[in-house]
């Protein structure tokens, strides 16, 4: 949860009066809120934390960081199934109907 991951803005749209974007994190695409970086544009990179873009990042640093995170398995830690990870850490099975159930 502490991790902030760089991602690239794929597209931007207004939803419920809020500026939202689809952001690509080295292959995983998530919905991200741009209200804190309102002038971020498609194609730019930003540091994203729990679904919010918090600071712009240049492309080269962003790519390097993403590459490092991928090598270290940190993207999996951030975007993998949290119930499975918790179950594994505890040596038990995930509870019934696991998954984020969004």
């Amino acid at each position: 949860m502490c991790l902030a991951v760089p991602g690239r803005v794929l597209d931007i749209e207004e939803r419920d009066g809020t500026r939202m974007a689809n952001v690509d994190f080295g292959g995983v695409v998530k919905e991200v809120c741009l209200e804190y970086l309102p002038d971020l544009q498609v194609g730019e990179y930003a540091i994203v934390h729990v679904g919010f873009a918090l600071q712009r990042l240049d492309e080269e640093s962003a790519k390097q960081t993403l590459e490092l995170f991928a090598t270290l398995g940190m993207l999996q830690e951030e975007f993998g199934d949290p119930w499975e990870m918790a179950a594994e850490a505890g040596g038990t099975l995930p509870p019934e109907g696991e998954g984020a159930r969004l």
Binding site: M1, C2, L3, A4, D16, G17, T18, K30, E31, V32, C33, E35, Y36, L37, P38, I47, H49, V50, G51, F52, L54, Q55, L57, D58, S61, Q64, T65, E67, L68, L72, E77, F79, P82, W83, M85, A86, A87, A89, G90, G91, T92, P95, E96, A100, R101, L102
Partner: protein, 374 residues
């Protein structure tokens, strides 16, 4: 230098290390504030690559670890109520409360859901107007703005069945508390980069001046840490104590103005208890009066909870840099990531977990037996 080949840019890593080795003339103790930095340091063996005179002390910067037991118990209590959908980040699932955790509450039929973003929890509230949706709002200055925005949106959109169980903490008062402790050995701080991405560096010059301690804003990748250490040691050797930004690619001096404005609107500063440490004045945020309707503690009466910390756990000392994880008697024996006694063992950013996963040294004989050789 057995790990150096694993660095992203081994040549640069070697140059930074050489510089540190040739600069240092005396022993220095530096604290990295952020749990993500602790993790990087132990994972890459950075502390072992540094000169013996440079000691890294692990700080309290793991939000999962410092969330007080009482708040965890409140979360467990609310999550167990019928009609409630309790949403949390995945890291909180295995944090032990008194006797159980959120993972077990879900197993016992509680509707606990993991979300990636607090806005996902708000959407769940929109989709389930007949249920109460509670989001577990913990974290430092990096996580607080997203949670603040979510409460702001709930109010703006008139989503009344959404509330936040808030336990946000702030870094500068924690630095102050650490410096005031009579047993404090810290001589320089590697400040948490992403906290500064939001807050900027304004809060630090006064701290640096008053305690005569250099504060270097540092990222959390291996090379960032080496650069942060290099700059801190250089200052110490020159007898300086200023605020320096070694993470400019992500930190502007003023931080993120929009996020800071939202924090000020939605939250107000309050005293907060830190797990294992106790109350630190002005070290947290709670919802401001305007948003109190969305405060889960007001909505669900969860007063009078009796908490019970395991007596063996010394995570408070670990979090303040007074004890290294493997110096705890329970480390690796009674306490492992599978059977965590304290939150510093359960969170992936916790110092105890980092030592358990990556560290093989200096274990007590019993712990050496129990610790797998990685």
């Amino acid at each position: 230098m057995k790990y150096i080949d694993e660095f992203q840019d081994p040549d640069l890593a070697r140059r930074l290390l050489d510089d540190i080795h040739s600069t240092v003339t005396r022993p220095w103790a530096l604290m990295e504030v952020c749990g993500g930095q602790t993790h990087t340091i132990i994972r890459h063996g950075i502390d072992q690559l540094l000169p013996d005179q440079v000691e890294l002390i692990h700080g309290p910067g793991c939000p999962v670890c410092v969330t007080p037991l009482e708040v965890i118990d409140k979360a467990l209590e609310i999550a167990s109520r019928p009609g409630v959908i309790f949403c949390s980040f995945g890291d909180m699932l295995r944090v032990p409360g008194t006797g159980r955790d959120l993972f077990q509450v879900r197993g016992a039929g509680g509707d606990v859901r993991v979300v990636y973003s607090p806005l996902d929890a708000l959407r769940i509230a929109q989709q389930n107007p007949d249920r109460e949706v509670v989001f577990f709002g913990i974290g430092f200055e990096t996580t607080a703005p997203p949670n603040a925005m979510t409460v702001y949106q709930a109010r703006r959109l008139g989503i009344r069945n959404f509330s936040l169980l808030v336990s946000h903490v702030r870094v500068p008062p924690a630095i102050e508390a650490i410096m005031q402790s009579p047993s404090c050995r810290v001589q320089g701080f590697l400040a948490a980069g992403h906290v500064c991405s939001v807050m900027g560096v304004e809060e630090y010059p006064e701290l640096a001046e008053r305690h005569r301690v250099p504060i270097v804003v540092t990222g959390f990748e291996p090379l960032d840490i080496l650069e942060g250490v290099r700059r801190t040691v250089a200052q110490l050797e020159r007898g300086e104590h200023t605020v320096d930004n070694a993470y400019p690619r992500a930190v502007r001096p003023e931080g993120n103005a929009a996020a800071r404005a939202m924090l000020e609107d939605v939250f107000e500063v309050t005293d907060r208890a830190w797990r294992g440490i106790g109350v630190i004045p002005d070290s947290g945020w709670r919802l401001s009066a305007k948003y109190r309707d969305h405060d889960a503690e007001h909505r669900f009466s969860v007063e009078g909870i009796q908490t019970r910390e395991p007596a063996e756990c010394r995570s408070g000392e670990v979090l303040q840099g007074l004890l290294k994880p493997h110096e705890c008697e329970a480390f690796g024996t009674l306490c492992t990531p599978r059977t965590p006694l304290g939150a510093t063992m359960v969170s992936s950013e916790g110092a105890c977990a980092a030592y358990y996963l990556y560290r093989r040294l200096d274990l007590t004989p019993a712990a050496r037996e129990a610790t797998p050789v990685v």
